[in-house]
């Protein structure tokens, strides 16, 4: 069995795949690469909200999407401590990664991708796909 890797996937990536009806492929990458993916209720709340707002999902469709991705994530409750991100609103995401010893954050947010002060590796979903 491969050594598990600890990752965090940003809400924009979850929304991108769920909104375009391709989340099964993202779950496939998680399974194939033996990833431990961390999230918290705040991040899942963002995904839920964004699916309704951007992709016209009904509440029950967004609920079911969250329910179906939940077996692939470890829901953790980080405390806001480090305040390391350039933008204060992203602090919780950084704390989620740091407090769970995540080696990678998968995001498509250019602001986070270019933040060289982040104490974890930032990569896009395209990179995750190539890993397979």
């Amino acid at each position: 069995m491969l050594t598990p890797k600890r990752y965090c996937i940003d809400s924009c990536v979850w929304v991108k795949y769920a909104g375009h009806f391709k989340i099964a492929s993202l779950l496939g990458y998680i399974y194939d690469n033996n990833l431990l993916v961390y999230a918290d209720n705040y991040l899942l709340g963002e995904v839920h909200h964004a699916l309704i707002k951007a992709f016209n999902f009904t509440i029950s469709e967004a609920d079911k999407t969250i329910l179906l991705i939940s077996p692939f994530i470890i829901v953790s409750a980080p405390r806001n401590i480090f305040r390391l991100s350039k933008d204060a609103k992203d602090n919780y995401l950084y704390d989620l990664c740091i407090q769970n010893n995540c080696s990678h954050l998968i995001t498509v947010d250019k602001e986070i991708l270019t933040d060289n002060n982040a104490p974890f590796i930032r990569k896009t979903d395209a990179w995750l796909k190539k890993k397979k």
């Binding site: 069995m1 598990p4 600890r6 940003d10 809400s11 924009c12 929304v15 991108k16 909104g19 375009h20 009806f21 391709k22 989340i23 099964a24 779950l27 496939g28 998680i30 399974y31 033996n34 431990l36 705040y42 709340g45 963002e46 909200h49 964004a50 707002k53 951007a54 992709f55 016209n56 469709e61 079911k64 999407t65 179906l68 991705i69 077996p71 692939f72 470890i74 204060a88 609103k89 992203d90 498509v108 947010d109 250019k110």
Partner: protein, 85 residues
């Protein structure tokens, strides 16, 4: 008195339960993925097919999606800040 076959069928289950209880959260998660991932992915595929049939596909670029999630995050952060301070 319990029959031998009953004892045989109960013992491994109890052993499995006690072994699972000793696992860390991460080990439990990996076990869960090994056991249920294939079924869960299949269920997600069925759900996505239903959504595809029911809803018109909306295409959004990465920038558009980031802008939406960022605005949601900013609003939630502002609300949390109001409550905390």
């Amino acid at each position: 008195m319990q029959s031998t076959s009953k004892i045989k069928s109960q013992l491994p289950f109890q052993a499995i339960i006690s072994a699972v209880k000793k696992l860390t959260i991460e080990e439990k998660q990996l076990l869960r993925q090994q056991l249920f991932a294939t079924d869960a992915i299949a269920e997600m595929r069925v759900f996505e097919l239903q959504l595809k049939k029911k809803k018109a596909s909306i295409k959004k670029t990465d920038e558009e999606i980031v802008s939406i999630t960022t605005s949601i995050r900013a609003k939630k952060y502002a609300n949390a800040k109001k409550i905390l301070y």
